[in-house]
Amino acid sequence: MVYDARCMSDAPDDFLDAAGLLQRSRLRPLPNILWVGVWFGGAAALLFFLSHQLAASKSLAPYRALVQGSTSVLMLVLMLGMGYLVWFGVRALRREGQQLEALQELVLLRRWPEAASLVGQLLSGPVRLPQTRLMGLLLLSRILMRYHRFSDAVGVCDELLETGMLDGDSARAVRVDRAMALLHEERLFDADRAISELRRGAQVDQSGGLALLEIYRDVKTGHPDEAIQTFQISLSAMRRQLGHALGEAYALIACALDRLGRPAEAQTAFANATVLMPLSELTRCYGEVASIAPAYTAARSPLEAA
């Protein structure tokens, strides 16, 4: 497994036990609505029966008003009890939802240590809603990839795909992430098979994620010409879908051009890459970029230039 010392240095040994989180986050069995109905229905029926018997009993005639009053109170208690149970359940669900929302924000803001800590909290016990677990696992896989825990990330992606609950686009995004993790893990055969499966679903010129994946595979396996070709035909889709992550594609193309001995063009691609993304982030993500970085000049943001 390839670990990057720079990003793992601040992580403790037991940091994000992915297998444990997968196991422990299995859904909390919800109280079956049928049984709740049976319990409350049964209690109401019993109340009805008792009140009817007591009202009909001649020996209790002097206490009729008391019987009726206590029946009303019991009915009220029953209804309030049910209301409390619903309120308690809703509050727990809301708390879980808030945790998930905070986690999504932390991942978006790239505050990785805090995101890792929160995902650990969220998934360390049974989760109430399947959607929350799916989203939590999706974010866990992103965090694991950020910390170069590619093998664990593949495991999490597999679990996500096995649930069969992801919609088409989400399943596709998970498959792209999984294939990327496999490539980083140097499991080239598995990665190639994953890419072929992805290709069956979409054309490379329509999917920015798939294009980036193919470019990385071609750079990694020493096929720079193919990488450049893929870049050219899918640039439009990558622009639309990847946003600033297009910098990764430019950086990989710089590697491909460098390998083909075209340093001037490689310099342009390298400068484009570093206009879109910080060099530190690019070299952290791709060892290939780190190896060519000393030979080229990175673009400087106005803050660095100041």
Binding site: M75, R240, G243
Partner: protein, 278 residues
């Protein structure tokens, strides 16, 4: 579905559902508190309260079903399947529910749909209707609706309404997506007014926000910041941001969508926006 009809329908249903809810609550209370005093037997009180409970549950169930129906629409809107989203919203609006939030949610999604369809006037109308239903200032629906209203107002050229909507969001605790949305809306508003120095304030954090926005919104944000940099004599920022935009988007398309940006790329013709002002 016409927005005016949808608003009327929602208002009528909200009034009716208020009456139904009040009646049910009154029935239950009368049965429980006054029942023994009125000479009702305990069994008839239990049956009466049970009947109220069943009616309440059935109405809530219909409400939950309608909520589920409407809740699919944000995903459909995001994937550009506007017709399907409209069907879902229409069904949610037509279904009677005792729950108030069902109608609010459906109307809010209708505003979001019209906004995505760039039917600004209708989006603003639906948003104003949602906000007129006393949502409570800090609720997520209210915040998102103010954002829709602000953007639609800017697109219609009604800058006073846009300013009112933006001000309504000041001081509220926004989620990250809402903060990103507000950042873009505010930049557009300030660009129309030529408030370039205000746009340049905190430019580093605005650029950071742009980097995590959806690609189209991120590019537009950086293009507006580049414009502000050009007007504020900040050539380094202008050059860097312009370069980013050119790498990330087709500037001709961008200028066609936001003619204000033609200043940065004079060779690109601004698009005809008349169709967007419906």
């Amino acid at each position: 579905m016409h927005v005016n009809h949808a608003i009327e329908r929602c208002r009528r249903d909200l009034r009716f559902s208020f009456v139904v809810r009040s009646l049910l609550a009154a029935c239950a209370l009368v049965l429980i508190i006054l029942g023994p005093g009125l000479g009702l037997t305990s069994s008839s009180i239990v049956v009466g309260v049970g009947a109220v409970w069943v009616v309440w549950t059935v109405l809530n169930y219909r409400g939950i079903r309608a909520t589920r129906l409407a809740s699919v629409s944000p995903m459909l809107i995001a994937s550009g399947e506007f017709d399907q989203a409209e069907q879902h919203i229409d069904q949610a609006i037509q279904t009677f529910s005792a729950l108030r939030h069902v109608k609010l949610l459906a109307l809010h999604y209708l505003a979001a749909l019209r906004h995505a369809q760039r039917r600004w006037a209708e989006a603003a109308l639906a948003a104003q209707a949602v906000l007129g239903l006393k949502l409570g200032r800090g609720t997520p629906i209210a915040r998102r609706t103010w954002l829709i209203l602000a953007d639609a107002s800017i697109e219609m050229g009604d800058l006073a309404a846009a300013q009112h909507a933006i001000q309504a969001l000041y001081g509220q605790r926004l989620s990250l997506p809402e903060a990103m949305n507000l950042c873009l809306v505010q930049l557009e508003y300030q660009a129309r007014l030529g408030q370039w120095s205000a746009m340049m304030q905190g430019i580093e954090s605005k650029v950071q926000l742009a980097e995590i926005m959806a690609p189209a919104a991120g590019v537009k944000t950086e293009a507006l910041l580049a414009l502000a940099a050009a007007h504020s004599s900040q050539p380094r920022w202008q050059q860097w941001l312009t370069q980013r935009v050119e790498l990330l988007a087709d500037v001709t398309e961008l200028v066609a969508q936001a003619p204000l940006l033609a200043e940065l790329w004079p060779s690109c013709p601004p698009g005809d926006r008349a169709d967007n002002r419906s």
